[in-house]
Amino acid sequence: MKLGFLVDLDLCMGCKACEVSCKVENEVPLSSWRLRVKYVDQGLFPDTSRTFTPLRCNHCESAPCERICPVSALHYLENGIVNIDKDRCIGCAGCIMACPYGAIYMDPETNTADKCTYCAHRIASSMMPACVVACPVEANIFGDLEDPMSNISRYISRDKKVQVRKPEKMTIPKHFYVGGGQAQLNPQASLREEGYSLFNNITHLKHIGKGH
């Protein structure tokens, strides 16, 4: 079994239900996110469009975070999930520096690294990840990539425009996107300025974990 995720960006409407459900399910502290939905606007008025991109851990087959972790706190599960043992983590932040997708954060309550685990605890109980359950339009598709009859495998086989983020990093992500373009998947392709924008203040955290 090799679990993977696919997001159909043509379906996503940016409701952030996945983001909220992830926060609740995993008790993610304030100022930290395992999953977030980024809004990117494109074009010039009146020819403009708004896109929504859910971003989470890619559970790479060749995960740089797993490789750099000095104590194997980040490790593979048999189903392909890159899991984290927070009790073993020493908080060196090597994984944060290694992840090309910015998917790992320092938990300010435990002072250890943390990230999306595809809700490994729910999967162990034969349940779907919280974000999949919460999505009102089934834009989040989750399943076994090695099972040709799974929803995700059929999606990938019939859609020719399946993409991953930063394929040049050779991390072999197990998180795919259908639809969307460079502006959504490549952070260098959109302008990101600090300051008040649509509904919130886009900024950088002043602290990483507690006491830093």
């Binding site: 996110w33 977030r36 980024k38 809004y39 990117v40 606007d41 494109q42 074009g43 010039l44 708004r50 740089p64 490789r67 750099i68 972790c69 000095p70 104590v71 194997s72 073993r88 983590c89 020493i90 908080g91 060196c92 932040a93 090597g94 944060i96 520096m97 290694a98 992840c99 090309p100 997708y101 910015g102 998917a103 954060y105 320092m106 002072n111 250890t112 983020r165 990093k169 502006a183 490549n186 952070p187 260098q188 392709a189 959109s190 302008l191 990101r192 300025e193 924008s197 649509l198 509904f199 919130n200 203040n201 886009i202 900024t203 950088h204 955290l205 990483i208 974990g209 507690k210 830093h212």
Partner: protein
């Protein structure tokens, strides 16, 4: 920020706050102190081998382990302080993960610190153990090389930051060790012979020149990878990082090159010490800029 890669006026209009700088000044201090410690061992061992009559490098047998011991402990202290769970450092020894350069480096650095501590004890307390000291110095040199280089592999493993490429960082770390080692020893070279001081000045000038060439190569010819180009835009486009970058290059490399060449010609101890002060200050600034700028890029 580099705007050249933006597609169709795309702009992020809503997102969460992203982590800021994760590895900050403590890591810079860690790198800097490690360069001094390992450089002292490498340059000191070279001087001791070259000037077999210890009168030429008076007191160097005691200087090498003491300086290395102090700076290795500064390096280890700030490594610990930078951890968010410092008391779990023991997990590196209980649950080592050998694909990680952090693990390998921690084991080697610990072994080097042990050897250096024993050498310090021998040189201060038991002064009649020259044979044992010489054997330990060979072991220390053997361990100092990977200790100074392993951080380059960590930076290479930090694959989110394309600016840090292992081959280039390996060379930078080696040059930094020779620069810092020769600079710190210059402060204690007052009673050495002119030939020994000349050797120090030559090492310092060569290490500074090679470092400068590496940085200038990155500064002027970094257009191959989009992320590297975007990272270098933080120093290309003016502002505080541009100022700090050039401050590091001028204070850390250009001035020491000029001063050490003058010291080689004149045999001036004062010029050599001035070059050493500049080199140590500039090295810290240059390393800090290089550590921070890749962390300013949004990753997602």
């Amino acid at each position: 920020m580099d705007h050249s890669q933006i597609i169709n006026n795309a702009v992020v209009t809503m997102d969460v706050a992203l982590p800021g700088v994760v590895w900050g000044w403590m890591i810079t201090l860690n790198l800097w102190a490690k360069s001094i410690a390992t450089g002292t061992v490498l340059v000191g061992a070279f001087l001791l081998a070259r000037h077999k009559d210890e009168g030429g490098v008076n007191g160097i047998r005691m200087l090498i382990p003491i300086i290395a011991f102090i700076f290795l402990n500064i390096f280890l202290l700030f490594t610990l302080l930078d951890l968010h769970q410092p008391f779990r450092m023991i997990n590196i020894f209980l649950h080592p993960h050998w694909t990680s350069a952090i693990t390998v480096g921690a084991w080697i650095a610990t072994a080097l610190t042990g050897v250096i501590a024993f050498m310090t004890y021998l040189s201060i307390i038991k002064k009649e153990t020259k044979g044992l000291y010489d054997t330990l110095l060979k072991v220390a040199v053997f361990l100092a090389i990977p200790t100074t280089l392993y951080t380059a592999v960590i930076m290479g493993e930090a694959s989110a930051r394309e600016l840090w490429a292992t081959p280039a960082e390996l060379m930078q770390m080696a040059f930094a060790a020779f620069l810092a080692g020769s600079a710190i020893l210059a402060f204690f070279s007052g009673r050495w012979t002119k030939e020994a001081r000349r050797d120090l000045a030559i090492i310092l000038s060569i290490a500074a020149s090679l470092s400068l060439i590496m940085y200038m190569g990155e500064y002027f010819f970094s257009w191959k990878a989009a992320e590297v180009e975007a990272t270098m835009a933080f120093v290309h486009s003016g502002g505080e990082w541009n100022t700090m970058f050039w401050a590091g290059q001028i204070i850390g490399y250009m001035i020491p090159i000029a001063l050490s060449i003058m010291a080689i010609r004149s045999g001036s101890e004062g010029l050599l010490k001035l070059a050493a002060i500049c080199a140590l200050i500039g090295l810290f600034i240059a390393k800090h800029v290089w550590l921070i700028i890749p962390q300013l890029l949004p990753l997602s």
